[in-house]
Amino acid sequence: MAMLHTVNKSPFEKNSLDSCMRLAKASSAVLLIEDGVVGAMKGTKHSKNVADAMANISFYVLGPDLKARGLSEGNVVDGIKVVDYSGFVDLAAEYESVQAWL
């Protein structure tokens, strides 16, 4: 049963992204929203962990939250797909259940 995991906190603020990445089963998906979009950025001390996790898990990031924070879509870790709220809804429908890592 593939699950969509949402993470709304920055990996610099909370361990939610770390916990999510260690407990999300292979072939599930992670969507970074709100302050969690920080976890999508290249060149941070967390970028490598995220890139490594992407071997088994699909990563998405909410574009509107990037824009709000002045973060550029061009600067996200390679392979992370940018979606809008409509895409968020699609993901929630496509995956069989949704879990929020708060």
Binding site: M1, A2, M3, N15, S16, S19, R22, L23, A24, K25, S28, E96, S97, V98, Q99, A100, W101, L102
Partner: protein, 139 residues
């Protein structure tokens, strides 16, 4: 008898926060107790700082808050018998199961024998359990 069978889903309650610093531990427990009336397939998870919710010997007198930890021992009476504790979360905090309440339930299919509700699971095992869930409530 009405049309349609009762829908039974796998419900998981995810607890990752320490008690008392925020209300999530208490209010999530309140959801679990109410939810018992709905006969769904319920699991509770305590991971990260959530493991502190089950610490033995909580004494809240000096912080002036109600100690709600005795309520966890009633979970068995509400037919909640799948309580998962992530092993690594305990170890990283220098804790063991001995530090936590010993939660039990009575198995009606086994002559009401008293059994452990707590399942100590590794990261990998917990990931499998999580992946099976239909509905996950995080607080």
């Amino acid at each position: 008898m009405e049309d349609g069978e009762q829908i039974i889903k796998e419900f998981m309650y995810m607890n990752r926060k320490s008690p008392y610093g925020t209300i999530y531990a208490l209010e999530s427990l309140e959801v679990v107790l109410i939810a018992a009336a709905f006969d769904q397939d319920v699991s509770l998870v305590f991971a990260d700082d959530g493991v502190y919710q089950l610490m033995k010997g909580q004494n809240t007198e000096e912080i002036g808050m109600k100690n709600f930890s005795p309520t966890y021992s009633a979970l068995g009476d509400y037919d909640i018998k799948k309580i998962y504790i992530e092993k690594e979360s305990l170890e990283e905090r220098g804790l063991s199961l001995d530090d936590l309440q010993d939660l039990k339930y009575e198995d009606e299919d086994d002559d009401w024998a008293e059994k452990d509700s707590i399942h100590l699971v590794s990261r990998e095992e917990l990931a499998e359990v999580i992946d099976q869930q239909d509905v996950v409530f995080s607080f």
